[in-house]
Amino acid sequence: MTDAASQSAPLAGPLTGLRVLELAGETGQFCGKLLGDLGADVVKIEPPGGEPCRRIGPFADDIPHPERSLSFWYYNTSKRGITLDLGTADGRDLFQRLARAADIVIETFRPGHLSSLGCDYETLSRQNPGLILCSLTPFGQTGPWRDYLSSDLLHMAAGGEMASSGYDETDAPDAPPIAPGGGNAWHMGCHFAYMAIVAALVHRTVSGRGQYIDASIHEACALTTESAIANYVYRGEVLQRHTGRHHGAGPSPRTQFRAADGNYVCALVGGRLNPRYMKELADLLDTNGMAGDLRDPKYQDQAVITENTSHIIDELVAGFIASLPAEEVYHRAQERGFTWGAVRAPEQLLDDPHLSDRGFWKEVAHPEFSRSFTYPGEAAIYGGSPWRISRRAPLIGEHNAEILCGDLGLSPGDLIVLAENRVI
């Protein structure tokens, strides 16, 4: 490499040099993305014909096709892809050969399946003591529920998310608990799995040895309800659901208000009302001439403030928000130090200049479409080892030749035989 080339070479991601084998469906594919976008070489191993989660919508141009699932595109960036039928002896043999040179295997099969294939941790680590194998499953490898079926909705129920989320009776009488959307059961499981894997990697830098990880999505969800467990453990409380705000042991002032454009604003006011805050609030509301009686000296008395909480929140704050578009309220409030936000639909984020300033949006080339598409970027900016999407999600078997011939030394003729026999 010339000096000029080395100077212009981009910094490598923090996980550069690691080889990951991903045997993951819908539940675990995000973990592979987290590793791949930070520089790991993730090889997704799909059954011949492709992973079933390629059938999850939405699809590009609304044309259902396994190469057009936007859900698959999103969760499989920065990976290469091969096909292997692990139900065949040839498929298992090739997988084991790949596992000998791998750092990490992620698998989401039902408990026991990998052992039945002769590919459990004990077997694989004999050839590769540094291997880290993470099984990420709905309930873990043991316990009375380990073979239960699941889905995102089921995890949101049993994990406690639903018991904490929903509506005030006045907003939606008799409403059920509401499961937060977006597929977050899988996110929660994958965040914890990622954490366990990187902990094992750090340990390996010291000990040279890998290990086996048994991660449970149900436990990840059950851990992700902030103080709900503590409220029960320390006070015996079971919390009530409230519209767009915290669960609570009792009623609490509302925090979600309808703005002039029909969108909502999250404005945390209750619990903060004191004489100093009243002056700041009056200044904010006055930007649209809506301060009402807030400048009355009586509000310098905490008792009067408390007595008038409903007037202040449900009339004055609600009235101010109702007089302006949600984005306008958001910025006016934040510029004055109020921790408020607009409740945005996801598409509004494309117009957020703060995200643009951070270089958040990434253009990802899709040569099959002769164009690139805009993808969301990184949670955090790594100053010395950047996050990046190295490629779009793999096509089915796209890297069969590159990896099976390039890495394992198979011949083009071998590939033909494997394809004919549905091994790849």
Partner: protein, 439 residues
């Protein structure tokens, strides 16, 4: 053996997201030194989780205890030159610095990344601010609910034609904390491999955006926004009478896919049931005793069940109302039908047989709170298990240990620091364990 044995973390974080991050680094074996100051403390007070029989003070918050196990506490006024010097000495012997203040706080103290790097060239510094350290809105502030609102997450939850239901807690404090721990360990791995430290600029609001990825691609690729009839579809995969589109929850678009009331119809007596195929639906009908309504041809196909969801859900609920939520779960799962109960915190701690078998909640003794269950890790590392080893520290509990044993300062320095307000406000009453350490 612990995965992060020998790693020391200087933890300036407060409230929830930062402490939730360092809790996990502690469970994995790192030594966490939590730097606190009682006059500007946020996380211990105000407490809504102090047991009814105890006085709410700095050492009796139940939620603080669960969020801060596996840490040591140094009470230190970093806003004084002497306090700042102690903080710098700590950074010099540490591997990671974590904080979740607003974007310019540490720099204004004179502890920005450039200064940290001067003190400890390979330091891994994770800042966990609301909007990040760069970008025009870096001065904006967040709580979990604001990050969730601004990033599009709140919008994705609720019933059609209703306000967003959002998340009933600071999901992005929990998840922001996860990212804090993930960034710290990723930076640590990179340091171990290359010798290089770095600043990792995490933003709670920005970290929330990748979690709405598929909805964003539906917009950037197809031009379809989420503000549309029938979205979000409550607990359903699709809201009947509206155009059929993906809902971004994952899994196929199917019915039944909903929450159903169960006996005895209390606040959390609900069970969710999902049938992802005709076969699963036939099995459900059989468990329900093959009622006549379920045999109607209109329910025989996925298209029919999606179209007639109101009637379908009514029929299913007529059955679930006759059984408890765990009975519905067991009958369904035994027959290969997807079902689980809606579980409150009490349900998870007391009634969930899976969490019990997996030892999710184990008791720990805390000097002020007594013996209580604490949440454990959702993963089992075979060689280096994550374990809770210390209860949350009482404020300043380890000040002497850190100042004298770790930094090697003489006992007189500790006494002088208490006298001049470096280690505790001079006018604030001391706890008995502080009197003890000054002897």
């Amino acid at each position: 053996m612990k995965a992060l044995a020998g790693i020391r973390v200087v933890d300036f974080s407060w409230v929830r997201a930062g402490p939730w991050a360092t809790r996990w680094l502690g469970a994995l074996g790192a030594e966490i030194i939590k730097i606190e100051w009682p006059e500007s403390e946020r996380g211990r007070l105000p407490s809504s989780t102090t047991p009814q029989h105890l006085e709410a003070n700095l050492n009796t918050s139940g939620n603080f205890n669960d969020t801060n196990v596996n840490k040591k506490s140094l009470s230190l006024n970093v806003r004084t030159p002497k306090g700042l010097d102690i903080a710098k000495r700590l950074i010099a012997v540490s591997d990671i610095v974590i904080e979740n203040f607003s974007s310019r706080v540490l720099r204004n103290w004179g502890l920005g990344y450039d200064e940290q790097r001067r003190i400890k060239p390979d330091i891994v510094y994770v800042s966990m601010s609301g909007y990040g350290h760069t970008g025009r809105h870096h001065r904006y502030t967040t709580f979990g609910p604001v990050a969730q609102a601004v990033s599009g997450q709140t919008f994705q939850s609720g019933l059609p034609d209703h306000p967003p239901a959002g998340w009933g807690w600071s999901y992005m404090d929990d998840t922001g904390g996860m990212y804090g721990a993930m960034c710290a360990m990723t930076g640590l791995y990179h340091r171990n491999m290359t010798g290089q430290g770095q600043h990792i600029d995490l933003s709670q609001m920005v970290a929330s955006v990748p979690l709405v990825g598929p909805a964003l691609l539906d917009f950037t690729v197809n031009g379809r926004g989420s503000r549309r009839p029938g979205y979000p579809p409550g607990n359903r995969a699709h809201w009947p009478g509206t155009p059929l589109t993906a809902n971004y929850r994952g899994g196929p678009t199917v019915a039944p896919h909903n929450a159903y009331r169960t006996d005895p119809r209390g606040y959390n007596d609900w069970c969710v049931i999902v049938c992802q195929s005709d076969e699963e639906w036939r099995r459900l009908a059989e468990i329900m005793g093959n009622p006549a309504w379920a045999a109607d041809d209109k329910f025989a196909t996925i298209a029919g069940r999606l179209q007639h969801q109101e009637e379908l859900d009514e029929g299913i609920e007529a059955w679930t109302r006759t059984l408890g939520k765990y009975a519905v779960t067991e009958r369904c799962q035994a027959a290969g039908v997807r079902a689980l109960p809606v579980q409150s915190a009490e349900d998870r701690v007391e009634h969930d047989p899976q969490l019990r078998q997996r030892e999710m909640y184990l008791e720990m003794e805390h000097p002020a709170l007594g013996r209580h269950k604490v949440q454990n890790a959702p993963f089992k590392l075979s060689e280096t298990p994550a374990q809770n080893t210390l209860p949350s520290p009482m404020i300043g509990q380890h000040t002497r240990e850190i100042v004298e044993r770790l930094l090697g300062l003489p006992h007189e320095e500790l006494q002088a620091g208490f006298a001049d307000g470096t280690f505790w406000p001079t006018k604030r009453p001391r706890f008995p364990y502080q009197e003890e350490m000054l002897r």
